[in-house]
């Protein structure tokens, strides 16, 4: 299931927020080749809409006979995907990339925006964790019913604490004394999380996003310095991130041009 997309039927669409929808696929339906998805939290799949494009998405739902992705509305591709209904077909390839290391004691999970999608299955599999989610505004928060005791913050104060998740880290650490932090979200936020983890000597892992094309480590499109994000990532540990010059600073557009991350929008040129 790595090099050729397998066509799968959308079994369910979940409206997650103003911006995001989840698309659920069954891994045992008679027309799909895959019996079950060999997946570990943090990995991603490539989703193909024939005659349009193919884009990477973290798996945000996973069970014995199903998996799903949560997709925020961003551009042409996600617009088309959001218009798709139950019963329509898309191509799936994967899963790809590295996974979170689950072998920790107490964990803190810090998600920002649709970055929550890469953390969702991880949260389900962690035995002892505290979860903080940040979003711009209340209507963009994800999985509020799925993870009921999650701490929330919004930039406009419309839900939870007013501010960003990293504002809460110090207090949380004093309370919970966690051994590890997992994070996914805006890269500026993840940089702050990694700095916090370094200061307090806590191990941390972050899931990064780059423009991914082949997803199998041959085209070089998604590179961050000397790493291929599709193979050596998307999940990277604190030690690797500390040495990664591009982290929080640069990303490559579709033509390979390395641009400051603030101006990178996943565009081709």
């Amino acid at each position: 299931m790595h090099l050729e997309p397998v066509m799968m039927k959308i079994e369910e669409v979940i409206l997650e927020s103003n911006l995001a929808r989840s698309f659920i696929f069954k891994t045992c339906s008679e027309r799909s080749e895959s019996k079950s998805l060999e997946y570990q939290p943090g990995q991603f799949i490539m989703l193909w809409i024939p005659r349009l494009d193919e884009k990477p998405f973290s798996i945000s739902y996973h069970g014995k006979d199903f998996f799903g992705v949560t997709v925020a509305l961003k551009g042409r591709f996600t617009q088309r995907l959001h218009e798709m209904k139950v019963g329509e077909w898309v191509g799936i390839r994967g899963p790809f990339g590295t996974a979170f290391n689950l072998n920790v004691g107490k964990a803190c999970v810090v998600g920002g925006g649709v970055g929550m999608a890469s953390l969702a299955v991880l949260i389900e599999r962690l035995e002892d964790s505290v979860v903080v989610q940040g979003a711009r505004t209340a209507s963009e928060l994800l999985y509020r019913n799925r993870f009921k005791d999650m701490l929330l913050c919004t930039e406009d104060g419309s839900a939870g604490t007013k501010g960003v998740p990293t504002d809460l880290l110090e207090d949380l650490y004093r309370h919970y004394r966690f051994d590890a932090i997992y994070t996914c979200g805006p890269e500026a936020m993840m940089v702050k999380v990694s700095e916090f983890a370094r200061e307090y000597n806590i191990c941390m892992q972050a899931s990064l996003e780059r423009y991914i094309k082949c997803a199998v480590g041959v085209c070089g499109q998604c590179c961050c310095n000397g790493l291929r994000l599709c193979v050596e990532g998307p999940v990277l540990d604190g030690g690797t991130l500390e040495k990664l010059e591009d982290f929080g600073r640069y990303a490559r557009r579709g033509n390979g041009r390395r641009v400051p991350i603030g101006t990178y929008l996943g565009k081709k040129t």
Partner: protein, 315 residues
């Protein structure tokens, strides 16, 4: 480990020379695979490659084709990347201080015509490239290579004779396997002043269809064929070229093991390109191929790569 390495270096010499460029071993990262950043080139050098080639640079940035750009099948891979690259100006920034890479770096360049090629060459001035590879053979990018008719003997001669004047670096010309009389194209390149031939680019284009979607899988519909399916064709091309020209050959196409590399050397290549095998065997493929070559050479009483080059041509 140290002992073993010492014993191997005394018994088997993997070093070779390509157009005057000394390589520690004959494995070369083929153009189009991983050559997007200096960091990745360093990684490939650390993994054991004797030299590396950057992803082709054009005059202006090219966005490349939409995804999927790559699809695999039972005998290799199909790709239609469409020469995505940031253009020579950005490329020159990316590939400054190439000495850091640790092995010779070959610049791959593309153009819509001689004007483009000359300007791209100008952009390479002052950078530490060891050689330039001019690709005239891409099967999936409109305006470039095969789709611009650059792969005929006539066009090859015309382009190479001009481009030759644009650089003092060793000049390799990368050919398409699609022409039956590839020796003629190679000779045209040699007569026009090329220092070496890279053979071959991907074959085709080919197509794969997802029958459930009832659509070609590649967004560009067609793409170049690489990997195991290409190997016997690449070998025949190199064998023919070796008979037709005196300049050295960088043999590329389907090589994934030490045996494949030796086979390519025997067909007449002085060094071997590796690309698609990065998918099947990982980035470590370069070191693995070298180790397998050493083992074979030791068992077969062969002490240097030189003895292997063109060995299959012995009467």
């Amino acid at each position: 480990m140290a002992d073993r390495f010492a014993s191997l270096t005394t018994r088997v010499d993997l070093s070779t020379e390509l157009c005057g460029v000394r390589l520690q071993n004959p494995t070369v990262l083929a153009s189009g695979i991983l050559g997007t950043s200096k960091g990745l080139l360093k990684g490939v050098a650390l993994a054991g490659a004797g030299a590396v080639t950057i992803k082709s640079l054009s005059l202006e940035p090219l966005p490349g084709h939409n995804n999927p750009i790559v699809v695999g099948f039972e005998a290799g891979m199909l790709n239609a990347v469409g020469y995505a690259n940031p253009g020579i100006k950005e490329g020159a920034k990316e590939f400054s201080n190439l000495k850091e890479v640790g092995v010779p770096v070959i610049a791959s360049i593309i153009g819509r015509g001689v004007g483009d090629f000359m300007k791209v060459l100008e952009g390479l001035w002052g950078l530490d490239f060891a050689a330039v590879e001019v690709s005239l053979s891409c099967p999936h990018t409109p305006g470039y290579g095969m789709l611009a008719g650059q792969n005929t003997p006539e066009a090859t001669k015309e382009i190479v004779s001009v481009v030759r004047k644009g650089t003092e670096l060793p000049l390799l010309v990368k050919l398409s396997p699609n022409i039956p009389e590839i020796g003629r194209v190679a000779r045209a390149a040699e007569e026009a002043g090329a220092d070496g031939i890279t053979a071959v680019n991907t074959l085709g284009p080919g197509m794969l269809i997802n029958i459930e979607a009832r659509q070609p899988i590649l967004d560009f519909k067609v793409g170049g064929v690489s990997g195991p399916a290409l190997r016997p064709i690449a070998l025949r091309c190199v064998y023919d070229i070796y008979k037709s020209v005196k300049i050295p050959i960088l043999g590329v196409g389907g090589i994934s093991t030490g045996r494949h590399a030796i086979e390519m050397l025997m067909a007449g290549a002085s060094a071997v390109g590796i690309g698609t095998a990065v998918y099947s065997r990982g980035i470590e493929v370069f070191g693995k191929v070298c180790q397998e070559m050493e083992e074979w050479m030791e068992i077969n009483g062969c002490t240097s790569v030189k003895e292997l080059i063109g060995a299959a041509h012995a009467p």
